[in-house]
Subunit: 337 residues, 2 copies
DNA sequence: CTGTTAGCGCGTTCAA
DNA sequence: TTGAACGCGCTAACAG
């Protein structure tokens, strides 16, 4: 593997000249430049990033902390970040944290060790204090989830408004007994969606019924969605609609409803959240709130690069547009249908 | 950010001693060790990986080339690789290649630039010559797909045998008019599955009917599966079973069948491949050939680390067990049912 | 058991 | 426009 010194020798110039040429710094005469390029070609020289990064004290790598790469919601965000990074010569290091504090910490330690120049957190189970400590010292951006009171740049959708729209839609359809499947996690999105669920009911003069609020597992598993839906549909009087905070939960709810002999949407309406791809693979296609996952990832990456390169961000929070997509799993309640 | 020299000064030892201690090389007396650890603690010292890797001439990073991170099949493999890497202090750099030659090449260039110590290819559209050139110079392992004649270590399932079993199962059910949805790609898995499809028919004295062989898009899209199934089900006499080389295609086939008024499995049997999670989220649950994706990833990683660290592998190819999972989308053909 | 020292390959002064 | 020389932080001889 040829080094810069080899190239310099071959081109009969100094390493400084080669370096200048490669980095477009200073000026190099066309003739010498040609000689150097010829030498690079001849020796098949590739700059050693290990050395370059060491010298420049940067890694050109960013950390991606995701609770679960396997989840299509997150994998689409990862794709967006990956593409945005590739455009500016950054690579992405993926850490599957499983929302485990220790794994998150271990990943962030890579910042101290200089393995990465910054990080994008897709979620965080660390306490805010800890997180803030890192955020003060290193470029960090949050994507989808964020600390409500910590001042870390983030990109997300407006979860409150999105839920409000979904709820208004259900109410407009005539639903009054609307249940929700939330989740046992501390995500800001979870909290905002639950808040909006309650607030929108109240705003429409519908009392919030605790029996209509269920909590699925923290990772929104299909199984827990199904189990919670089964319970909700056993409440008397039974809800005519279920607002689920993820598509997977909605799928679980639909399955539970069917197993209990209810038709969707004739007997019970189910709506989801996220719009992951496989929800339009088998009927009923799910009515859901779509998030621009890929774009969420892209923008988070751009925010991060802005911090890394200019030590500043154009805006501390970016809110992207959501979209309510009405498909087959929703309709008027049976009493009015 | 404290350096090793700072620690050495604080502990009143030389940098060599600190280095030795940190790398468990040579011997250090308990007393000095204690002093050094105290200094490390006091200064909150973290080794600079940029410097360490440079010095050791290794990056402790591996490249993951996947055609599509968003595909659950690949994301589960990625999870396996990621976990196996984390256990031995390796991080994974993910490149979404989209089966694009140039992106694959760009990713592999990272090997020359020493950004990574090795690579795992989940697929490859490069010609074998090119690929082999890299494989000769750098640690490379293939996962799931591999060049049939290039001698690169790889891990996969036995695609031929797996398909054979699936076909024998269909034939045992009584099916004679069995179609297949293959794909327009050059993957070895695609080829082997098609070969096994044909061979198993012939072995059972069933003529191979070209009209029963369809090719979906190279990325196994749901849409193309649906379109191809629609065509297959229009052939006279129509097939009573469709063997799809991916679950997504199978989902598409089921949708097409339903839209054409056929019941699955009463009128037509559909079976898939891979056993990705969401195939048991809505009925009919798909009969499929399960691949141990996570384990595929783990073993690929272990193979790669073996090459990186010892420059040798225990075995050049690892074949993992598949499993035919019979669920709801398969049954006897209508004539006999 | 410990310290001194010489690079690893590159980017960057500073002089020429 | 070019070159000589230094040093980033660390590891590994080698010497003591």
């Amino acid at each position: 593997m040829a080094t810069m010194a080899d190239v310099a020798r071959e081109a009969k110039v100094s390493v400084a000249t080669v370096s200048r040429l490669l980095n477009n710094k200073g000026t190099v005469s066309p003739e010498t430049a040609a000689r150097v390029f010829a030498a690079i070609e001849k020796l098949d020289y590739e700059p050693n990033l290990l050395a370059r990064n060491f010298r420049r004290n940067e890694s050109r790598v960013i950390l991606l902390l995701s609770p679960n790469v396997t989840n299509p919601y997150y994998s689409r965000i990862l794709a967006g970040i990956g593409d945005a990074g590739a455009e500016v010569g950054y690579s992405a290091l993926i850490y599957n944290t499983g929302d485990d504090r220790e794994r998150e910490r271990a990943a962030l330690e890579m910042l101290k060790k200089r393995r990465a120049d910054g990080a994008i957190l897709m979620s965080s189970s660390m306490d805010c204090g800890w997180l803030l400590e890192y955020a003060e010292r290193f470029p960090i951006v949050q994507c989808s989830e964020y600390g409500p009171d910590v001042d870390i740049p983030h990109v997300s959708i407006d979860n409150y408004k999105a839920t409000q729209e979904a709820m208004e839609y259900l109410i407009a359809l005539g639903h009054r007994r609307i249940a929700t499947i939330s989740a046992e996690n501390e995500y800001i999105s979870t909290r905002l969606r639950l808040d909006a669920y309650c607030d929108t009911l109240v705003k429409n003069d519908i009392a919030v019924n605790e029996a209509y609020i269920a909590y699925a597992s923290r990772d929104y598993s299909f199984k827990s969605g199904k189990a919670r839906a089964r319970e909700l549909l056993s409440v008397t009087p039974r809800p005519t609609a279920i607002f689920c905070i993820s598509d997977t939960l909605a799928l679980g709810a639909i399955t539970a409803a069917k197993e209990m002999g209810y038709r969707v949407p004739e007997d019970v309406t189910v709506i989801g959240f996220d719009d992951v791809e496989h929800t339009t693979m088998l009927h009923p296609y799910i009515t859901t709130v779509a998030q621009p996952c890929y774009e969420l990832g892209r923008q988070a990456a751009q925010l991060l690069f802005s911090v890394i390169m200019h030590n500043t961000v154009p805006q501390r929070q970016v809110i992207l547009e959501h979209r309510l997509i009405v498909r087959e799993s929703s309709g008027p309640p049976p009493e009015l249908g």
